[in-house]
Each structure stands twice: as structure tokens, then as C-alpha cells.
């Protein structure tokens, strides 16, 4: 796979393009329904988990608004509950969210003609889901589209995630024993499922397996939270030992997604419509 291809964004938009734009935005909203459901579900669980870990409503919401990254937030909740110093949590957040560099770079050519201030604002909304939905949308219409990006980033992701966070925190007091409802398995299962979504070859698989083994080994021998960081650092080195079957300069075609809609359908449609 190569980087994004597109038509000249400076070309004026004829009426047929306007129809295509409307159609693609409708498709974007339809594809995003799965993302909305997932964001509502996981946001709710995040809110419950955060409250269980001692977060107040303000603290849990601040994290959802400012960090706005599911995996990092779930990790932070667990690590705060485990007493890990903030520096470790921030370091782990940086590693977990480093993949956004790739998403941002993949979207950059589509949005390069927009004012810097606009791009700076759009950047905060960049998540796995927003990337998957908007890249597919851009490819369908052959150019960047800020309103379409905002639909993906705000309407379909940011708002559901934050509303569900608030609801989860408020509901948490009414659930005396979360383990009886299996809520304690939600976090590891979510992390594992997201990892599976990122495994696209033997390199990723080796990185994940080694990262897991090292995390447990170091966690038992030294510190459970520290083991996560060490595993996350060493796992990729192990993956790099495996010969790659894809050129290193390629970008992620599709990020990890919370639903099949975002990962598969949107991407396949975009590939079919790509010139």
C-alpha cells in the first residue's frame, strides 16, 4: 500500500462533486453508527472503572476531554488505582498514543491546504475511529473535507465518548460489586481486542506476544505497572527482528477499530473508490 492519493484539492467543486460529497458524508455517518455504539459502550465502562478507581466526575471527564484516548485512559485508571507515579502513566500514555503520529501523517496531505489554526484544532480529535472514518471519506471524494472530519471526530466519537463517561461515573455508585457483572474483564479484553486489531503480520504478533510475556515477567519480578512499560518498550524490538513483508514506508491502511464497520467496511469501500 502506498500513501494517500488524491485529486488536486484546489480544483473548484462542480455540482456533481457536491452530490458526491453529500453522499459520502451520509455514508460516513452510516459507517460511524458502529463507532458511536462502541464509544457509548466503552465510555460507559470507562466511567464505571474510573469511579471505581476513585476518580471524581470532574477528573474522569477531564481525562475524556483532554486525553481523549480510550486505551490510554483505561490504562491510566488502572495505574492510578495501582499507585503508579504520574510520570509512569504519562510515559505509558505517550507510548500508547505514538501511533497517532502515523495517522496524523497519513491525513496531513489531505488537509495541507487548510489554515494552520484549523489543523491544530482538528488534531485533538484524531483517534483510531476518526482516522478510519475520515480517511475512507476523503478517498471516496478525492480530497480533504473538514466538515466530514468533524462529523467523524466530534459527532461520532467525541460526544458519545464524553456523554458515556459522565453516565458511567454517575451510575457507578449504584453497582456495589462490579466483578459480579464481569466488569473487571472488560479492560483486559478490550486491550487484547485492540491489540488483535493492530496485528497485521508476524512482526506485530511477535511484538505483542513478547510485550505480554515481558510485562508479566517483569511485573512479577519487580513491579506490575513497571512491567507494562518495559514490555511495551521491548516488545517492538523483538518484532523488528522478524523480517518485514511490507515496505517500511507504508502507512497504516486502517487503524485498530472498535467495530467492524470502521475497520473493514469503510476501508474496503474506500479502496474500491480509490483511483
Amino acid at each position: 500500500m502506498t500513501g494517500p492519493t488524491m485529486s488536486d484539492p484546489t480544483v473548484s467543486e462542480p455540482s456533481s462533486d457536491a452530490a458526491l460529497l453529500r453522499s459520502s458524508r451520509r455514508r460516513l455517518a452510516y459507517d460511524g453508527l458502529g463507532v458511536v455504539l462502541a464509544a457509548l459502550g466503552f465510555g460507559l465502562v470507562y466511567g464505571l472503572s474510573a469511579r471505581d478507581a476513585g476518580f471524581s466526575l470532574v477528573e474522569a471527564s477531564a481525562m475524556s476531554i483532554l486525553a481523549f484516548g480510550g486505551a490510554a485512559q483505561f490504562a491510566a485508571v488502572q495505574l492510578v488505582a495501582g499507585g503508579l507515579p504520574w510520570a509512569g502513566i504519562v510515559l505509558l500514555t505517550g507510548f500508547l498514543n505514538a501511533r497517532h503520529l502515523l495517522y496524523s501523517a497519513a491525513l496531513a496531505p489531505w488537509l495541507s491546504d487548510r489554515p494552520k489554526a484549523v489543523r491544530a484544532g482538528l488534531a485533538h480529535l484524531l483517534t483510531d475511529e476518526a482516522f478510519a472514518l475520515s480517511l475512507a471519506h476523503f478517498r471516496r471524494i478525492g480530497r480533504g473535507d473538514v466538515p466530514g472530519y468533524l462529523i467523524a471526530g466530534i459527532l461520532l466519537t467525541f460526544i458519545p465518548w464524553n456523554v458515556a463517561t459522565v453516565v458511567g461515573v454517575l451510575l457507578a455508585g449504584g453497582i456495589p460489586n462490579p466483578e459480579a457483572y464481569g466488569l473487571d474483564i472488560v479492560f483486559p479484553a478490550t486491550m487484547a481486542g485492540l491489540a488483535v486489531g493492530l496485528v497485521t503480520g508476524s512482526r506485530e504478533l511477535v511484538a505483542a506476544v513478547v510485550g505480554a510475556i515481558v510485562a508479566v515477567g517483569v511485573g512479577l519480578a519487580w513491579d506490575p505497572s513497571g512491567g507494562i512499560i518495559v514490555g511495551g518498550l521491548i516488545g517492538p524490538f523483538a518484532g523488528l527482528v522478524v523480517p518485514s513483508r511490507t515496505p517500511p514506508e507504508t502507512w497504516p491502511e486502517s487503524p485498530v477499530a472498535l467495530g467492524r464497520v470502521a475497520r473493514s467496511q469503510a476501508t474496503r469501500r474506500s479502496e474500491r473508490s480509490e483511483p
Partner: protein
């Protein structure tokens, strides 16, 4: 209502925003060395797997001492991983995993 962790949220924003914004604003991340790009691509799977493994395989006692744990959570995790790998749908993997744990605990098996 406590607000102490708002500071942590700000720090998480401070470390996350540059990864989202730099390539969009200034830097050309595709100019990084190939090995660095390849490493970055592998960080996600490694960290997420580490988080999952630590959660199900290590428990801590009241004093904070870690110990190895084997339980129904392993089976639930394997079920989730298998379903997600098969159907590429996280929700489809998550719901059966939760149900398995709830039923096993209700039945006194875990």
C-alpha cells in the same frame, strides 16, 4: 469532589497532542528513519498486549506484592481474542467474554 487528577489529564494531553498534531502542522514523520517508523508501528500491539496480560496474569495482595494468577479470566481473554481475530469486531469478542466470566462466577466455578 476531588480535582487532583485533572493535572494528570493535562499531562496526558500534553504528551498526546503532539503525536496528533505535529505531522499535521509541521513535521514530516515519514522522514523518520525506516527503523523508527517500524518501531512506532509495533508499539501499539506490544503495549496493549502488555496491559491485557498484566491484568489477567498478576494479582497483588493487600501489601502490594504481586503473584501469578490463573483463572477464568484467561479463558475469557482467549475467547475474546479468538472472536476478534475471526470477526474483526471488538464488541463481538467482548460480550461473550463478559458473559463467560459472569456465568462462571455465578456458578461458583471462578
Amino acid at each position: 469532589m476531588t480535582v487532583e487528577l485533572v493535572g494528570l489529564a493535562v499531562l496526558m494531553f500534553a504528551v498526546t497532542y503532539p503525536t496528533r498534531a505535529l505531522p499535521l502542522l509541521v513535521a514530516r514523520v515519514d522522514r523518520l528513519p525506516d527503523r523508527a517508523l517500524a518501531y512506532l508501528r509495533l508499539v501499539g500491539p506490544a503495549v496493549l498486549a502488555a496491559l491485557a496480560a498484566r491484568s489477567v496474569a498478576i494479582v497483588t495482595d493487600d501489601g502490594g506484592a504481586p503473584s501469578f494468577h490463573v483463572g477464568i479470566e484467561w479463558l475469557a481473554l482467549a475467547l475474546c481474542i479468538g472472536l476478534v481475530a475471526w470477526r474483526r469486531n471488538l464488541l463481538l469478542g467482548l460480550v461473550p467474554a463478559i458473559i463467560l466470566v459472569v456465568v462462571a462466577r455465578a456458578a461458583g466455578l471462578a
